[in-house]
């Protein structure tokens, strides 16, 4: 077992990437992702990490380099945030449809305009349908562990898909937390050598990213969707074996005090830690409240969500992005769709909070819940907006 140290989460994540013996890092600096890339460039410059560090001129190039690198069979990492993800979006979709196992650290940040460097989930929701595996983290240790898991799942020949680790900007990237480090031995035990299904190498010629006529595009998309769905057991297996190694157990959907809960809060990312405190407060007051943390956003763990919410009367979904003009915010949309055909479906309430770095406290969450329970319209509510 490794040592436990107080460290900034971004630095720890970069150290984890280094420990995974990454071959290529291609990234462009953007707040609040910078420390991850800076630290990786330091590791490369000092010689402690034998990797190719490509200081590209834009995020579009970063993801393009990553595609080429993964296609050549190299272990590949990038990190970005918000506008950077927007700029690389074109290639983000190509990475997944070409089944290239790239690992991305996404420091979740609001999209412009107004220009905001602070946290929400609008960036990741922009590429929600890109076909990447998307994982959310609640604290520093989870971010650190997620790096090892991401490489392992992405490169597994049964998966061969890119993985996006969602890390709330500043709220997680810039905080100093106690993190238990892995050792080289643990890493080697957990993460096998990357053996790509196909790779660009002259011994066996292949064409990647070819033209697809209407006769074949539908079949290609069906195959891609199937691949993403089939990554689910491999993702779970990765977490189970991580638990054997570290004692920390992760699941696609995690429950907190939900056994007898009448009211359940559901969220993703660092807001769950805040919600845990809100649930504790409500429990102290004798209210039957619980929390469901959605760790795996894509592929969506549909059956696990159904099971987790089955007994509740009311569910409050905390969304951290607006889907302009839509019927629901992104996470609520999915939860309502999943529960619609259930015979004992709960009332599902929607609250959007924490946009562009607006602080959310445990008291706010309690207030949101009261507000949502009183609202019979079950509309599309943005919390704390001044009139």
């Amino acid at each position: 077992m490794g040592r436990k140290v107080g460290v900034e989460v971004s630095i720890a994540a970069a150290d984890a990437v280094g420990l995974c013996d990454v071959d290529v890092v291609a990234a462009y600096p953007i707040t609040p992702q910078t420390h991850v890339v800076e630290h990786l460039s330091e590791l490369c410059a000092s010689g402690s990490l034998d990797a190719e560090f490509v200081p590209v001129e834009s995020e579009h190039s970063a993801m393009s380099v990553c595609c080429g690198s993964a296609a050549a069979g190299a272990r590949t990492f990038t990190a970005t945030s918000s506008q950077g993800l927007a700029l690389m979006a074109e290639i983000v979709f190509i990475a997944s449809s070409m089944r290239l196992p790239i690992v991305m650290f996404l420091a979740n940040r609001a999209l412009s305009s107004p220009l905001s460097i602070w946290n929400d989930h609008s960036d990741t929701m922009m590429v929600r349908d890109s076909g990447w595996i998307q994982v959310f983290c609640e604290n520093g240790q989870e971010v650190y562990d997620a790096v090892f898991h991401a490489f392992r799942v992405a490169e597994d020949a049964r998966v061969s898909l890119p993985v996006m680790i969602n890390v709330d900007g500043f709220n997680l990237t810039h905080v100093i937390e106690p993190i238990e480090f892995w050792t080289k031995d643990m890493t080697q035990k957990y993460l096998p050598e990357f053996k790509p299904i196909h790779r660009l190498y002259p011994d066996k010629v292949v064409t990647m990213g070819a033209f697809g006529m209407p006769e074949i595009y539908t079949e290609a998309k069906m195959a891609q969707n199937d691949a993403l769905l089939k990554s689910f057991p491999v993702i779970k297996q990765g977490w189970n074996e991580l638990a054997d190694l570290t004692g920390r157990k992760y699941s696609p959907v995690e429950m907190y005090k939900t056994e007898d809960a009448e009211t359940i809060i559901l969220g993703m990312g660092s807001i769950c830690e805040t919600a845990t405190l809100a649930v504790d407060q409500m429990r102290d007051q004798g209210k039957k409240a619980g929390l469901v943390k959605l760790r795996l956003w894509r592929p969506l763990p549909v059956d696990d969500i159904k099971k987790a919410l089955a007994g509740a009367k009311d569910v409050l979904v905390l969304d951290r992005a607006v889907s302009f003009g839509a019927a629901n915010a992104p996470v609520t949309s999915e939860i309502r769709a999943i529960m619609y055909h259930e015979s004992n479906r709960p009332n599902i309430h929607n609250v959007i909070a924490g946009l562009g770095g607006r602080d959310v406290t445990p008291d706010h969450i309690i207030e949101m819940l009261e507000m949502a329970l009183a609202d019979k319209t079950r509309g599309y509510n943005i919390f704390g907006v001044r009139s």
């Binding site: 061969s160 196909h198 010629v205 070819a210 074949i216 539908t218 079949e219 290609a220 199937d226």
Partner: protein, 96 residues
């Protein structure tokens, strides 16, 4: 030889729609696109090879025994480039 595209089921597609067999574009018959057809007159032809070089679908090939050019209508898509490029108008486009 791989199957024509419209006979491949989704489970048969290689991961990432990677093409593992070089030259499989020959399974696709661009000749089905054609509305006009090039007509070749070997009496006018001066054997300059210009049509052969310019054809985007490699539908034109030389027949050395007969000293003429021949057209493969499985791949000729009727674009008219050969007719346009021929310096002596030995190729004319006709309704197909």
């Amino acid at each position: 030889m791989t199957k024509p595209m419209d006979q491949i089921g989704w489970r048969e597609i290689d991961a990432g729609a990677v093409i593992t067999e070089p030259g499989n574009a020959s399974c696709y018959h661009t000749g089905t696109w054609r509305s006009q057809k090039p007509k070749y007159d070997s009496n006018i032809c001066i054997r300059c090879w210009r049509c052969f070089v310019m054809c985007p679908d490699a539908a034109i090939s030389p027949n050395f025994d007969k000293n003429i050019f021949t057209w493969n209508y499985d791949y000729c898509k009727g674009c008219g480039i050969c007719a346009y490029e021929c310096p002596v108008d030995a190729i004319t486009m006709e309704e197909d």
